[in-house]
Symmetry: C2
Subunit: 298 residues, 2 copies
């Protein structure tokens, strides 16, 4: 049963219960490029109360530096080591779990954030923002694009420059069963400019359907992402609360990774009515109209 | 139980049983751009025996004229009214079943074949081969692309120039529940140049996953396509045999549309062993190593 935070003593009890707050960003801290009211005050309240803060995002287009700039632009304090976009958790996975041999490369169907994070952990890559792949397929491509033993993994994220040429390359590399198939996150939509457009999970689907393979998903709600976070920031999962705007990613992530609590904010994707639907995929421990209410009413 | 045609009396019995032969093209008549041995002789044998011949293809990139040229290039006789690519069955569906109002347009995620066939039946369209959509999305697009009541249907086929911009447009149009969602065919792969690349069904998947909508599929193995064929060429389905190289499209199509028979050729996608697999999706009535064997051994 989800508890709606409305009264001051409920806020206080909620804040006292957790030492660590992990935040989804878009729909929680801001919406598109617009700040959400009171968020800055709430974040300052948490900092001054000595809470540990971690920023988590399934958005794979940005590196941690990019994210830090974006968070700071909303006048929210953030340090690099507090920021976990899926580009970073994916790079950690390739380096530490997959242990990609040094002579192998990652083929990226995605944007610059993934490239930056792979560079930082010293993993070679191809594809990604390579402008020469933003063109039509020609018959020479169809004759020459074939499985390539130098490609050890295909890593898919959000790619606003996706082309059939990139799909053809990734499809052929994935014919090799030794080539890993990785996905930064499975979000079906990408919230921006007050609406939605197809997201990373959707962009990757041509490869899932054509190869018949199931990718390893490295973003929320999968525990792989929490493993990456805990590897960087050591904390007691039971004293941590995940704050997000989507039931099927954020709140599910809190459950999948065994966190002590979850808080849904109603400033993003999921609506209050969805919590009470018979087939609600998962229910938050707490919910609140807006993150800003915490500072306003506590 | 599938019967393998091997002896002359089996060939004769098979040929006597049917008046109409419907052929899938790629993998049956040719492979990529290469002719398959003996096919020309088999087609001439059928013509000289007074059999009716129909060419069927899920390839949506070509119009009927394009296909006629391709068939003739392999020295196989074909008339325009014998040719049914999925671009044509899709156009017929939009015009006759959907009865798209004259003030509405079809947004095409696909190639020129669909445009030609929609032009012929007098249906307005946008998207398709429009070169101005083969570019990156910009922030102006994200602010302005929204549901559009002038778009009555999104029709997806194979599109080797697919871009995120086109996906964004189609995604927004499909937010309008009155906008129909159509797919020329669901083939996961596109056989060419001796290998495979992602096919029409795969290209459409970002829209299926992001919108949560299920498209109406207008190619094999769905009966909608046979309805279009029978509307053009009147014949007794029980005296007709479908000849193809894929169990889950061609042979399933013969079953779904109530044809009298089906013949699998082993020169394309499905292999002999698949017929005998425990989970074979569907089994042909007859199978043969190569279509050319019919003329050689009959």
């Amino acid at each position: 049963m989800a508890i709606k935070l409305e009264k001051p003593d409920q806020y206080k009890e909620f804040l006292d219960k957790f030492d660590v707050f992990l935040f989804d960003c878009d729909g929680v801290l801001w919406s598109g490029n617009e700040p959400l009211p009171g968020v800055k005050d709430t974040m300052e309240l948490l900092r001054s109360s000595g809470k540990q803060i971690i920023f988590v995002s399934n958005n794979s287009t940005k590196s941690r530096e990019d994210y830090m700039k974006k968070i700071n632009a909303h006048e929210i304090e953030a340090k690099l080591e507090e920021i976990y976009p899926s580009a970073y958790s994916s790079a950690i996975y390739v380096k530490k779990v997959l242990k990609l041999p040094e002579d192998k490369k990652v083929f990226i169907l995605g944007e610059g954030g993934i490239e930056s994070e792979l560079d930082r952990v010293g993993v070679k890559h191809t594809g990604g923002t390579d402008a020469s792949l933003r063109r039509a397929v020609n018959s020479d491509d169809l004759n020459t694009i074939r499985p390539d033993p130098s490609i050890g993994a295909v890593l898919c994220g959000m790619d606003r420059h996706v082309t059939y040429l990139k799909y053809c390359m990734a499809y052929q590399y994935l014919q090799d069963p030794n080539c890993a198939f990785l996905l930064t996150n499975q979000d079906s939509t990408f919230p921006t400019n007050g609406t939605f457009f197809p997201g990373s999970g959707s962009i990757s689907y041509p490869l899932i359907f054509s190869t018949g393979r199931t990718p390893k998903i490295l973003g929320k709600p999968y525990d792989e992402m929490m493993e990456a976070i805990v590897a960087g920031v050591n904390f007691d999962r039971k004293k941590a609360c995940f704050v997000g705007d989507r039931l099927n990613t954020d709140i599910q992530f809190a459950k999948n990774s065994g966190l002590g609590g979850s808080l849904l904010v109603l400033t993003g994707v999921s609506q209050e009515s969805e919590i009470y639907e018979k087939d609600a995929p998962v229910v938050p421990d707490y919910y609140i109209n807006s993150l800003g209410d915490l500072a306003k009413k506590a």
